[in-house]
């Protein structure tokens, strides 16, 4: 097979399109690059959706943690403690085994133009089950970051807001939240990167790779097993991840610039990528 043919056969293999069988003998460099690259799509899928939904839940959790009402504060503290204090790997296993035990029932969700039947068996599939775990996990870590930033919002800002007659939600939305985001953003960038890196755990932790549709590391370990040569597939994964990490830093850096646009240039915070891995 030429490299162009390989690309046609395997570029979308991780989502079930193209050639059914994975390459078994005479594995070429091109096949490894294409198939591992197709697996990166799963890493991006998990990271983008988990970070997007996690962002809103984390904001709510941070506000709840800061609440004076113990009925709000205690559950938020407990949630953050459980998800930050235990390994993601074990969380995956636990969630998978719990989802497997659920009774198999279906729910009809009317969408207006069509009806989708949601079944609990979807939870045992990686695309939903693992996504939920990643979403809860990143929510806990981000909530801790947002909570820290919330505590550092200058008191003067709040007093000024009150002097202008703002209170409650409008004070939160117009004063606290923008400052919170600005303060939290450099750390939040780190969290997004490490969540992206953590998505490589999904297919090694209980959730089966259905029809061998897995992520980048799943295919890399497949190749390492088949060729007995780890020195090709793992560096390929590494290169893909370095490129993606640089892209994440650029994207979050641009958002950081926007969050800081009202400040004098020397007062702006910069997104400095500190490798404080958290899991």
């Amino acid at each position: 097979m030429s490299c162009a043919e390989t690309f046609q056969a395997y570029a979308l293999r991780s989502f079930g399109f193209g050639e059914r069988a994975l390459p078994k003998t005479g594995i070429s460099l091109c096949e490894q690059v294409v198939l591992i690259g197709s697996g990166v799509a799963w890493n991006l899928y998990f990271a983008v959706l988990a970070v997007f939904f996690g962002f809103f839940f984390a904001t709510a959790l941070a506000v709840a943690r800061n609440s004076a009402d113990p009925w709000l504060r205690k559950p938020a503290e407990m949630f953050v403690f459980v998800f930050r204090g235990s390994p993601l790997f074990i969380q995956f296993f636990f969630a998978y085994e719990a989802f497997v035990l659920l009774p198999r029932v279906g729910f009809d969700i009317p969408l207006g133009f069509a009806t989708v039947t949601a079944t609990t068996s979807w939870l045992t599939k990686a695309w939903l089950g693992a996504l939920i775990v990643l979403f809860l996990n990143t929510s806990a870590y981000s909530a801790e970051i947002f909570y820290g930033a919330l505590r550092s919002v200058p008191k003067g800002d709040l007093e000024a807001a009150e002097a202008f007659g703002m209170s409650g939600f409008s004070r939160f939305r117009r004063i606290i939240w923008p400052t919170l985001l600005r303060l939290a953003w450099p750390s939040y960038t780190n969290e997004a990167i490490f969540l992206f890196h953590a998505t490589t755990l999904v297919f090694f932790s209980g959730f089966p790779a259905w029809r061998q549709e897995g992520d980048a590391l799943y295919y890399a370990s497949y190749f390492a097993e088949k060729t007995f040569n780890p020195f090709v597939p793992y560096p390929i994964v590494a290169i893909y991840f370095i490129i993606a990490t640089v892209a994440i830093i650029a994207l979050f850096g641009a958002i950081n610039g926007r969050l800081n646009r009202h400040l004098a240039p020397e007062a702006r915070s910069r997104v400095v990528y500190r490798p404080e891995l958290k899991r």
């Binding site: 403690f81 390994p87 790997f89 969380q91 953590a198 490589t200 780890p230 991840f241």
Partner: protein, 292 residues
Amino acid sequence: MFEMCADPKVLAGLDWFACYLTTPKHFQFYFSFLVVLTLIFITAPIVLALGFLGAFARRAAFAPLRLVGHAYTSMVRGVPDIVFFLFVPIALDQALEYVRHRVLCPEVTEPVYRGNDFVVCAAAKLPLSSAPQWIHEVYGFVLAIIAFSVVFGAFAANTIDGALSAVPRAQLETARAYGMTERQTFRRIHLPQMWVYALPGLSNLWMILIKATPLLFLLGITDIVYWARELGGSKTSFFEYPHPDWRVWYFLALLAFYLLLTWLSEKGFAWLNVRVRRGQATIGAEVAGVGR
């Protein structure tokens, strides 16, 4: 374990559980918790040592060494640690076997990488196929320790390098002005003050190390994850202690174990933080001095 356990079929209730939880397999499960703690306590000092080496390399006057230090500390930035955990043991194993093959079997002229195979002569195998089972297990464990140390050493080097730079210059200049040599300045002034700045990063690293230990399972070591899956899987009446799928409870136990471990560590580091701040001119030290 207990005498009543001779015939599990007649047991019920608490007795059944007492016997069930004391089967030899369960003791192997409990023993694997010790394996996890062993890994943490062996790896931590190596990580700290590698961290210092990496940090010194980054600050070295000799340019090539500085380059090595920077390469080592930045390699973990863009690449997931799991990739290293999968890569380092197998790469190390192959490198060792390759070298042994070249040294011990010079008469074999065929290449080691043959198509989809990696073939070394029998004498070069690590460990030798004639070696007892426990040697194979220890060898796997040592490779795992090396993989963990390499990855976390790079993180520690970042932290320590930052902490060494954070010590106020005036402190070091004062030491020099008192006539201390470079060595004395480092040992008496630079190193003791560095800990205050390094501790938050290192405590974070310790937590990560704890939370990375279940990844031992990926390296094929019979660790707590392995036993949780093995023991929790549903057992038919063919087994002595039949039960349905209990894996979720076993993983709940592991979750509780890790929560306890990280909770205890948090307490320990809070105490240590007060300890290293004692006698230092920082806000933390003054707060600690009030006796909170």
